[in-house]
């Protein structure tokens, strides 16, 4: 099987999310990468280093800047004449583009797969991760988004892929990028961090969230996450949200601080290797999935923990 993988990049840098997607694609067959964007020669160079990639297709055109799906989907559809499967990471960009490609190919997409069970068979989580479905596609071509946390990352250097320029239908004149409000952070990406420190509604305010959560995250070089309640209350921006509809994470250590553990939140973090819960309520559902729990006042416990680590 020949597969085409959407390489996600930002500010001239290949994003980590592309690597587990390459691993998933390699389970199906040969892997080529598509790097689309404006001024992406550097990204293409980096993509060609990924072990297991045969060819990097580069569509360098202003129309493909900002990953507008209206312009990208026709490009992918044209390229898919030579491929059996299209895979994208299940990131906000991948989820935006892949179904548009699937519909144009008249294919039913497999969303957010957890594993490859066979050439047409995959597992995926449904009902906020409360059930795992094994599904088999009967479509002639496959369109798949891949959950990054359940596949190992492909090795990012040492590969020797060839780089080939491609072009597509260009700007469809349906949409324009206006602006991005992207927080610049020195912390690791939430979805690929080894340690995640997450806070919930019990923090009480944006200031307290900052005062309590950030020092522990600094100490552990961790990414910072949050429950939906904390985001809705305005303590932190939307991109911190972990859960069914936010980000899915599977770090080595997940600290759930003042998070009760609604099923929608558990859906986003229960694959973490070690879960630590700190909560005042001993009955909170988060203790049902935590490896280690501390019951008590988080405003005392967390600073003490930060000091002692």
């Amino acid at each position: 099987m020949k597969t085409l993988v959407w390489a996600e990049h930002e500010n001239g840098r290949l994003k980590d999310a592309s690597l587990p997607t390459v691993t998933a694609a390699a389970k199906l067959g040969e892997v080529d990468l598509l790097v689309a964007g404006a001024g992406v020669a550097g990204v293409a160079q980096a993509a060609a280093q990924i072990v297991g990639v045969g060819q990097v297709l580069v569509a360098d055109d202003e129309a493909y800047a900002h990953a507008l799906p209206e312009n990208l989907a026709p490009l992918v559809v044209e390229l898919m004449a030579g491929y059996d499967a299209f895979l994208a990471p299940a990131t906000s960009t991948g989820k935006n583009i892949a179904p548009r490609v699937a519909a144009l190919l008249d294919v039913m997409q497999l969303s957010d797969i957890l594993s490859v069970e066979g050439p047409q068979t995959f597992t995926r989580a449904i009902y906020a991760g409360n059930a795992i479905a094994t599904v088999k596609s009967s479509d002639a071509k496959l369109v798949i988004t891949v959950r990054g946390s359940t596949f190992a990352k492909a090795v990012a250097s040492g590969g020797v892929a060839t780089i080939s320029p491609v072009s597509g239908p260009g700007n469809q004149e349906l949409s324009n990028f206006v602006r991005a409000d992207i927080a610049q952070s020195t912390r690791p990406e939430l979805t690929s961090a080894k340690v995640v420190v997450a806070g919930g509604r019990a923090l009480g305010s944006a200031e307290k969230f900052q005062d309590v959560i950030e020092p522990l995250a600094d100490k552990l070089k961790a990414a910072v996450g949050a429950s939906r309640a904390a985001v809705d209350a305005g303590y932190v921006p939307n991109d911190y949200q972990v859960g069914q509809t936010g980000k899915i994470v599977a770090p080595e250590f997940y600290f759930a601080i003042g998070i009760s553990g609604a099923i929608q939140h558990l859906a986003g973090m229960k694959d973490a290797k070690t879960i630590v819960a700190i909560n005042a309520d001993p009955e909170a559902p988060i203790f049902g999935v935590a490896d280690y729990g501390l019951v008590g006042d988080l405003f005392e416990i967390v600073p003490a923990l930060t000091a002692k680590l």
């Binding site: 799906p69 990131t91 906000s92 519909a103 039913m108 997409q109 969303s111 409360n130 349906l174 509809t245």
Partner: protein
């Protein structure tokens, strides 16, 4: 400008789904069903557009069992003007739903279609994007703000790194994220009024759409259960455990 809002009847947000013993699916017998929460947000946004004078009519459409009438009556009580139910008693995949919605859009010619970004049962997150593709129109997915001006709509989207704003030519497809608005509750008088609002019943055959599934579900299983953990009695005990596990600070 008409606004079309597809709504799905799904298991209630607060119910914990149970996998059937024979592994054929999730048990939905005698389980409380409600409107998909993201669709409530989509509907609220559509009603607000009408209240601001930017939309003339809000049409709710559902594809599902005859019981999805209840979901549509809720939509009418929340402010939709009329409803269309396309009755299908089996599960319909997002691709087929998108094809049916495309056929409805061809008839109704809406200026905007607003959908929930995903349904909380299959968690697919596909229908809006697929519909936009089939209509050949732009898409503003995961919307946290929508503003219509002239023949374009600006959509602020919740993306992995923060927020992104795009400008789309109308007609356009928008999918609602959690923070777009807070949906209203239907008042009792509005629930009563909804009973007399028009609700048309259709079938996929009326639209000549083939809804044959492309995916076969081989089995549905419980996720692996995490072994029960321990509640520790002190911060020192936790620090010791974390150091044992090799956490680096």
């Amino acid at each position: 400008m008409k606004v079309l809002v597809p709504v799905k009847r799904v298991i209630d947000y607060n119910i914990r789904p149970r996998v059937k013993a024979d592994g054929s699916g999730v048990d939905l017998v005698n389980v409380k069903m409600s409107m998909n929460p993201f669709d409530e947000i989509a509907l609220e946004e559509a009603v607000r557009l009408r209240e601001k004078g930017q939309a003339s009519e809000v049409i709710a459409v559902s594809i599902g069992p005859a019981k999805a009438q209840d979901t549509l009556r809720t939509a009418l009580a929340m402010g939709a003007d009329r409803a269309i139910l396309i009755v299908v008693e089996t599960e319909v995949e997002p691709l087929a739903v998108a094809k049916l919605l495309k056929a409805v859009a061809d008839e109704e010619q809406p200026g905007v279609v607003i959908l929930g970004k995903q349904a909380i049962d299959d968690d697919c997150n596909q229908t809006g994007q697929m519909l936009a593709a089939l209509m050949g129109r732009p898409q503003g997915t995961f919307a946290s703000a929508v503003s219509v001006a002239g023949d374009r709509v600006e959509v602020t989207r919740e993306v992995d790194g923060g927020l992104e704003t795009v400008s789309l030519a109308l007609p356009a497809v928008i999918t609602a994220d959690l923070r777009l608005n807070e949906p209203r509750y239907a008042s009792l008088p509005n629930i009563m009024k909804a009973r007399s609002k028009p609700l048309a019943q259709k079938t996929p055959a009326d639209y000549r759409v083939d809804i044959t599934p492309r995916l076969t579900t081989l089995k549905v299983a419980e996720p692996p259960v995490r072994a029960a953990g321990v509640v520790l009695d002190s911060v020192d005990a936790l620090v010791a455990k974390l150091k044992e596990l090799g956490i680096s600070a």
